[in-house]
């Protein structure tokens, strides 16, 4: 037997292909795989509730993507998800876990609304940018506080963001029932906690007549592209990612770790706040309404944005695709409810399953990649292989092992 026996070579290649198959699947298809498993589990739930999964899913697809009206509704739904998702990308890349999106959205909405109520007579081209910037500032401040707590006082950001969500909901209830309430409503049993109709100058213009698609989608996509450029094409973005990957090494290289953490949280909060302002000025009622909970205003975008960002691999550009997809799921959820009687909350449950599966597969995926890199190390060290880096999902420990 010589070393160049073709039969043996073929056999060993085949064998290595077979063992590599599972790794290959894990490395490249972990995220789609998670989605497929989640949809299958959703089908089981529908069957258990006595509904036909095929009818359900086809209704969902049609409701989300069938026709221009459905598509525009999906795009409108995707706007806050995308903005929050981009904010999550920035924070996660710096290894800061921002789960205060809900509160930051509310503060952004309130800040924008306050400006529109104070200066209703400004012309649209001035007022619209002004209210959007106010929203970003409101959310940014609400994000900077936990960032500052984490960087300078070692307070876990998960806890402080949760607590600030609880503060934000009460501030929202107070402002909308008190100082900002619409005093002109002639109701008997107390005022409804909502503002008056906001000045038409502040309304986001509709892009396609006959649909609800408004300027917000352009803003959201631009912010996503800008965040991508910031993270991968500027030295500041490099700093954010470096701090996320290894705070110690970054400090050793002379970077200010603490300030970078505060900035990342501020940018993250600003994205969420912008989403809040767009939720007010792009909505159909064109006023800010409170039902006593954050979800009533945000539609849980603060949490769903995390799903969207994870699903987009913490890359702002892929997050655009992912936001559109999850926007479709939410819009299609109501169609599913009408067609099968299964409540649209199924979509929330499914996105939870997607998150769990994505992070559960992430560790296995990394191990598979480490193995295949080690195996490939002997054969080749191509630049491509070296450039592939995983995002810092090690949120709590902050270590990359």
């Amino acid at each position: 037997m010589t070393r160049s026996d073709p039969g043996k070579t073929a056999r060993s290649v085949f064998a290595s292909l077979r063992t590599d198959g599972g790794r290959f699947l894990l490395i490249w298809f972990a995220i789609p795989l998670a989605l497929v498993v989640a949809l299958l589990l959703g089908a089981v739930m529908m069957l258990a509730l006595g509904a036909n999964p095929l009818t359900g899913y086809s209704a969902l697809l049609k409701g989300a993507f069938g026709g221009s009206y459905a598509l525009s509704a999906t795009a409108v739904q995707a706007i806050p998800l995308l903005l929050v998702g981009v904010g999550i990308c920035i924070a996660f890349r710096a290894n800061v876990f921002n789960i205060g999106g809900e509160g930051q959205i509310a503060m952004g909405g309130l800040a924008g609304t306050a400006v529109a109520l104070t200066l209703p007579d400004l012309p649209g081209p001035i007022l619209i940018p002004l209210v959007l910037v106010a929203g970003a500032v409101g959310g940014g401040i609400w994000g900077a506080i936990p960032g500052w707590f984490k960087a300078f006082h070692n307070v876990n950001e998960i806890l402080s963001t949760i607590m600030l969500n609880l503060v934000a909901v009460q501030v929202m209830n107070y402002l909308l029932a008190g100082p900002m309430v619409d005093k002109s409503q002639g109701s008997v049993g107390g005022l409804i906690p909502e503002t008056k109709l906001l000045s038409t100058n502040s309304w986001l213009p509709v892009l396609v007549p006959g649909t609800q698609l408004h300027l917000g989608i352009v803003i959201a996509v631009s912010v996503a592209v800008a965040a991508y450029l910031l993270l991968w094409r500027t030295s500041y973005g490099f700093k954010i990612r470096a701090v996320g990957l290894s705070p110690d090494a970054s400090a050793y290289a002379g970077m200010s770790v603490k300030r970078t953490i505060v900035t990342a949280m501020t940018l993250s909060g600003a994205c969420c706040g912008l989403a809040g302002a767009i939720l007010v000025f792009g909505s159909l009622p064109h006023r800010m309404v409170a039902d006593g909970s954050l979800t009533g205003f945000t539609g849980s975008a603060g949490f769903n944005g995390i799903v969207v960002a994870l699903f987009g691999g913490l890359n702002p550009l892929w997050t655009i695709v992912s936001a559109f997809f999850f926007g479709g799921l939410i819009v299609g959820g109501s169609a599913l409810q009408i067609a099968t009687g299964v409540p649209s909350d199924l979509v929330t449950a499914l996105s939870g399953i997607v998150v769990v599966l994505v992070v559960a597969l992430e560790y296995q995926r990394r191990r598979a990649r480490a193995r295949s890199n080690a195996a490939a190390g002997a054969r080749t060290t191509s630049r491509l292989r070296l450039r592939r880096r995983d995002p810092p999902l090690a949120v709590m420990g902050g270590d990359e092992q």
Binding site: M163, V358, V359, Q401
Partner: protein, 310 residues
Amino acid sequence: MNDFFTFAVLTTTVASGIAVATPFLLAALGETIGQRSGVLNLGVDGIMLLAAFVTYFIALKTGDLFIAILAGAATGTIMGVVTAIVSVKLKAEQGISGIGVYLFGLGFSALLFTKLVGTPLPIATLQPVGIPLLDQIPVIGGMFFNQNLLVYLAFILVPVVTIMLNRTSYGLRIRAVGENPAAADTLGVSVALIRWSTVMLGCTLAGLAGASLLLYNGIFQVNLTQAAGFIAVALVYFGGWRPVGVMAGALLYGLVGAVILTWKSLGIIPLSASDLAATAPAIITVVALLFIARRFRQPAVLGRPYERGG
């Protein structure tokens, strides 16, 4: 202001503060056990929601509160299996997988509630049981010794968990696994087994917390917990990973809330400002975290999955 300092008002305020604190205490004690072994479970809120729904549903169908509470706790245990598989077996990133469990619990409990119940009907609440003799003590008896059984259980668990963590070999193993899993592993302690057990225990307590929250309210609604599970996680940090500290945090949170409710109903706080006053428990907790973060150290490997040779 004078109205507030009558004994009757004080008694009801403190008693209701303790009742409000109970679900937080149960969930936070469970979370403490898990975190001492190095596992961060952020899905508590979702687990509480699922357990609260199951408790509600069983109570509605059978009318037997005892079975309903058991079913709620069992729901927690089942979710504990899921959490342990994800966090211990599959070594997922715990901060994020917890959000996944939360979203699942939020969506699935709402789904089941809308589909299986639809129109919400109130159920019987858990009746207070006076402790003989002690409940006769003026003022104090009414505050502390005329509560329902879950309240007593929660507060008895405080010394029980303290002793378990500090005075038993199981507790020593839990702490070893949370501080230095490699050393524990070398000595033949199964890191995975210990973490499985703490996660299951913690989630069972989260299930009980959901049941007690539901029985306090007497009715289920979508997102019943209003982030109570997340607050419970914060209280673990607040309490410096010690059961007594956790209890102090839960009581502070519950009592401040109860005092503000009483002030609101007595008109001491104008109605318009009552929403702002309601932020007090959260703000107090955040400010307290600022000071506590310096004094206590979290378990060394909190949130980090263990891997041999890693």
